[in-house]
């Protein structure tokens, strides 16, 4: 919990320091030295103004430094556990001569944002040339000016981006971001414990499952599903009433003990230990769990619909290797490389032609609707609309309070 900014306005800064000396915290010369140090240690954040650095000031050193640093989530790229390498990255290096430093640094949109925001706001290099964040966080990053504009001439393969992803409300024309993978949020259950299965979110509230249900702490997925259950078009123009109704449902089910815990990624452990028998889940997780633990769970989009989200590749402001980053994006937009990744991560590939390429990579996955969803399947999946900054703060606050924080 290290706040990183001090008052920028010199007058206010003096006020804050004076305030402290009145409390006898600082005295005499020591105080002055401290004040100087304080002034020096502020990273010069820009609280109210534009909040972003000028992209033009960054020098692209891609030509001299043949490297690209990429921050991604865990289990999100094909991995050879025996050789301990990422085969597709090796292929990228072989093809382009660019060394890729891949790190699984991102374990949550919010926590990652909290970690790097101070530097991004100050226009500093965060040491990553590509970051991979979910739609709503991508929207926030672009809105705050924390990303660089992509040069599409370096990414000819971007033409393979699926049509429905080409124009999104948070990045018209995809100038700053490209989809990495997409996935669904829906409901999943333990097949042995619930042989009859589930059809809708309301089925999660069956008293027989009391204390054995978990929902995701990702607000847009859990409340998105609950709003859909209430008949709300989550991509449309919903507002406070629709949100609060769904939130009331969530509060009720927490209060009456139906929901055991509201969780992030760790709901997978609870599925394995069978503390949780029915959950709001991400599609790829269930596919992976079934693969690792034997076919124990089933995932569906509820009758009223599930959510469709995407993670996006972006180049952070002040990254000195933008061209290399673009070459890496171009590499993964090649259908065959995209199929290689999709076969391993089990999420939806955003690349047109990946399905045809999958015939060569792993024919058994070609008809998997969680990787290559049919049009009917996609019709049940909804993208939640992008929230404004004020809405985001307001709804996050209400959601966090409802889940006990």
């Amino acid at each position: 919990m290290t706040p990183r900014r001090l008052p920028e306005d010199p007058q206010l800064r003096r006020l804050v320091v004076a305030q402290m000396s009145r409390r006898n915290v600082l005295t005499g010369a020591g105080g002055l030295t401290l004040a100087g140090l304080l002034a020096a240690c502020g990273t010069g954040g820009t609280p109210t103004s534009q909040g972003s650095a000028e992209g033009g000031a960054v020098v692209d050193r891609s030509a001299e430094e043949k490297i690209v640093n990429w921050a991604n989530w865990t289990l999100y790229l094909d991995y050879d556990s025996e050789a301990q390498t990422y085969p597709s990255l090796d292929a990228f290096t072989k093809q382009t001569g660019i060394q890729a430093n891949y790190s699984e640094d991102i374990d949550g949109n919010d926590s990652y944002f909290g970690k790097v925001q101070g530097q991004l706001a100050a226009g500093q290099d965060i040491g990553q040339d590509i970051v991979t964040l979910t739609d709503w966080m991508t929207a926030r990053m672009i809105r705050l000016g924390y990303t660089q504009e992509l040069d599409r001439s370096n990414i000819p393969n971007a033409k393979n981006l699926l049509r429905n992803l080409q124009d999104v409300d948070f990045d018209p024309g995809r100038k700053h971001s490209l989809t990495w993978q997409s996935g669904f949020a829906g409901i999943a259950w333990n097949k042995k414990a619930i042989p009859g299965g589930l059809k809708s979110v309301s089925d999660l509230w069956n008293p027989e499952l009391r204390g054995r249900v978990e929902v995701l702490d990702e607000m847009r997925d859990t409340l998105g599903l609950m709003m859909l259950e209430n008949g709300v078009d989550i991509g449309g123009n919903w507002g406070d009433d629709e949100f609060d109704n769904a939130l009331d449902d969530l509060r009720r089910e927490i209060a009456n003990g139906q929901i055991r815990q509201v969780k992030g990624n760790s709901y997978k452990q609870d599925l394995i230990s069978e503390d949780a028998l029915a959950v709001v889940a991400w599609s790829g997780d269930i596919t992976q769990l079934n693969f690792e633990q034997g076919d124990k769970w089933e995932f569906i989009l509820p009758e009223a619909g599930g959510t469709l989200w995407s993670d996006n590749l972006m180049v952070p402001v002040a990254s000195p290797h933008k061209t290399n980053a673009e070459k890496l994006m171009n590499f993964y937009y090649d259908p065959e490389n995209a199929a290689t990744v999709a076969a391993w991560v089990n999420y939806i590939s955003p690349v047109a032609g990946a399905r045809e390429a999958m015939e060569k990579v792993d024919p058994s996955l070609v008809d998997n609707p969680l990787i290559f969803p049919t049009d009917e399947y996609l019709a049940d999946a909804h993208v939640i609309r992008t929230l404004s900054a004020d809405e985001e703060t307001k709804y996050n606050d209400r959601f966090q309070k409802a889940i006990g924080n």
């Binding site: 919990m1 990183r4 915290v25 909040g51 927490i254 703060t393």
Partner: protein, 324 residues
């Protein structure tokens, strides 16, 4: 008897300022050369604390001021997420206190119960190893390693292991249900009980080790003397052993209570979303999820002040000068 008396005297004398000044009195009779040498020595002392001073300044004092400043920031109208303007908005404190007083009190309640439980478990453990097994070196070594061993693995992994051990379908829960100690639909994880147990377990070494250290120095002849004077075991413990181990008890309780009240891992992994939220979780949620830096900073500052106040009261009440 006389032995006990001298020890007491030594103990009481050690920290007292009055005696300290007395001892320095001969200074007045020293030669000027000696005085100068002493002054050089005292300068040397300042140089030696310089690295520590700079370290504390950079990594404690400055962040605290930064925290204080941030806690008074305001969100100007129309500002985007994470954008705040410097201000002196003291109402931030009132707002977070109003919203989160319950979590604050709960954190101290959980930490208090965990500290008492750790004391009740840790003291006998420390006593056994330090006094009873004093001459059985091998056994003592093994037990000491067992006490410290939990430190060798990650805090989070150990707590995660607890979740598996106490899961609804686990042997523990079914056994407890079979003997009707736990209702049919009862559970152990995702409860306040589990959170307090996790806190107790995770901070137990911090309680046991300081008590062990002070009991290890306990002169067992004092115990013999006490029984020679017709004290029973309980009186001996109350009048001799416990008072002499009080420095360890004080250190152990502080080392357990302070981190336990700010802990959020146990509550996040073993708790639920109704009645187990601790203040650390709230600070995490305000900072990362809601991106309310002033609110999170204000809560951190309140937590710090509250711990400081509680610890001061505690030390004033229970810790006498001769012990600390």
């Amino acid at each position: 008897m006389s032995l006990l008396a001298t020890r007491r005297q030594q103990q009481t004398g050690a920290g007292k300022g009055k005696n300290g000044r007395k001892r320095n009195k001969p200074e007045d009779f020293r030669s000027p050369g000696e005085v100068a040498a002493d002054k050089r020595k005292s300068h040397m002392g300042y140089w030696l604390i310089l690295p520590g001073f700079i370290f504390m300044l950079l990594f404690f004092v400055l962040p605290v001021f930064s925290l204080l400043a941030t806690s008074l920031y305001t969100k100007p109208p129309g500002a985007d997420i994470g954008q705040f303007a410097p201000a002196l908005q003291f109402s931030n404190y009132a707002v977070v206190l109003q919203d989160y007083w319950a979590e604050l009190i709960r954190s101290f309640g959980f930490a208090l119960i965990a500290t008492v439980a750790a004391l009740l478990i840790g003291y006998p453990m420390a006593y056994l190893v330090a006094v009873r097994l004093r001459h059985r070196n091998l056994l003592r070594g093994i037990l000491l390693v067992l006490i410290i061993a939990p430190f060798f693995t990650s805090f989070i992994l150990r707590t995660q292991a607890w979740k598996q051990i106490l899961a609804d379908e686990s042997l523990v829960v079914s056994a407890l249900q079979a003997v009707a100690l736990l209702p049919e639909d009862g559970r152990l994880t995702a409860t306040a009980f589990a959170v307090v147990c996790g806190l107790t377990y995770n901070f137990l070494p911090f309680m046991t080790l300081p008590i062990y250290a002070s009991l290890e120095r306990l002169d067992t002849r004092l115990l013999e003397a006490s029984s020679d004077l017709y004290s029973n075991a309980f009186t001996t413990f109350r009048r001799v052993t416990l008072p002499l181990s009080m420095p360890g008890v004080m250190a152990g309780t502080l080392l357990t209570f302070i981190p336990a009240s700010g802990d959020y891992i146990n509550a996040a992994l073993l708790g639920n979303n109704q009645d187990t939220t601790m203040i650390g979780q709230v600070i995490d949620s305000r900072f990362f999820r809601v991106v309310d830096y002033p609110g999170a900073s204000a809560l951190s500052f309140i937590l710090m002040l509250a711990i400081l106040a509680l610890v001061t009261l505690y030390v004033r009440r229970f810790g006498t000068k001769e012990l600390i």
